[in-house]
């Protein structure tokens, strides 16, 4: 009797979870489905790399505000018109500026942004190299046989 109650309870819990998972799609911010799965994939990629200008730290895909819904609608229309990803990005940048791109384009204005990590890495590598070479030189200097003390120098090598 008791065991059957437990099984029944587990069954109820399992169906509730399954039901919740099934309806999850309906709760998503953006229910847009494009007819062509390839277009749908590009739509999802684009809406995930464009910024919601109102919330500013959310992507168009994640934002529930009305402006984001409007901009998603424009992305959808542009893709259905046969525009390329770059053309969609350019359309958005013409209106809202580079700020709308979560992945900024390489331009004279953003060059430092893209190059700075590489430059920092090079500087870091240079510093490391100098330190390592300095230490190696110290070790080499230690290994130099000290004049008049041959035996000890050989001991350390052995």
């Amino acid at each position: 009797m008791r065991r059957r109650g437990t099984v029944l309870r587990m069954l109820v819990v399992a169906t509730t979870i399954a039901g919740a998972l099934l309806t999850l799609r309906a709760w998503a911010v953006d229910p847009t489905e494009l007819p062509d799965p390839r277009l749908q994939a590009r739509y999802l990629a684009l809406t995930h790399e464009l910024r919601c200008m109102q919330c500013q730290n959310e992507t168009l895909a994640d934002s529930p505000v009305e402006l984001a819904a409007d901009l998603r609608h424009h992305v959808r229309d542009l893709l259905l018109q046969g525009k390329s990803d770059d053309e969609v990005r350019a359309w958005m940048v013409a209106r809202y500026g580079d700020f709308i791109l979560f992945r900024p384009r390489f331009s004279p204005r953003t060059a430092w942004l893209w190059l700075a990590p590489g430059v920092a890495l090079l500087i870091g590598a240079g510093v490391c190299w100098r330190i390592v070479r300095g230490r190696a030189a110290l070790v080499d200097a230690d290994r130099e046989p000290v004049a008049g003390d041959d035996t000890e120098a050989q001991d350390t090598r052995g």
């Binding site: 200008m53 009305e66 402006l67 409007d70 424009h74 209106r95 500026g97 580079d98």
Partner: protein, 179 residues
Amino acid sequence: MNRFALPMAVFVALVVVLAIGIEHSPQKGIIASPLIGKPAPPFSLPSLADPVRAVASADLKGRWYLLNVWGTWCFECRAEHQMLLEARDAHALPLIGLDWKDDDAQAREWLTQLGNPYEAVALDHSGSTAVDFGVYGAPETFLINAQGIIVYKYVGPLTRDVWTNEILPRLPPHAAARS
């Protein structure tokens, strides 16, 4: 002492560069519009006063005007309304309203209650014209010259300070003199 001189110098240089960046970033927190200095996006929308008529950018060519993006759902628009009425009474240039994704009846009621500062109000039900103008939050105000070029944009409720120090000085002498 000498070991720390270089890292310290680098650190100080970094602080100075960042401080300059923060201090001089144009209008902190405000996103610069790429449309400044470019032709205003063309629009032709139904007029609030008479939906059969259109408010069209083509008809506004040859005059300077302020395009004010607002909506009755916009809390801050109420805050700038008094300033808009003052701007209208200055007779420096016409104000054109862009009623963004709004209910027509509520918009009419708003203008009856608070006063109508606009020469004409264009109804942007779909929000497409606002998107073409790169609007991301009402209220926003665009100063457009006689050639249809966007000369200046202000985001947020219009203040007397912006009106006297940013908008009036940009107007051609004869228009500003009338204010």
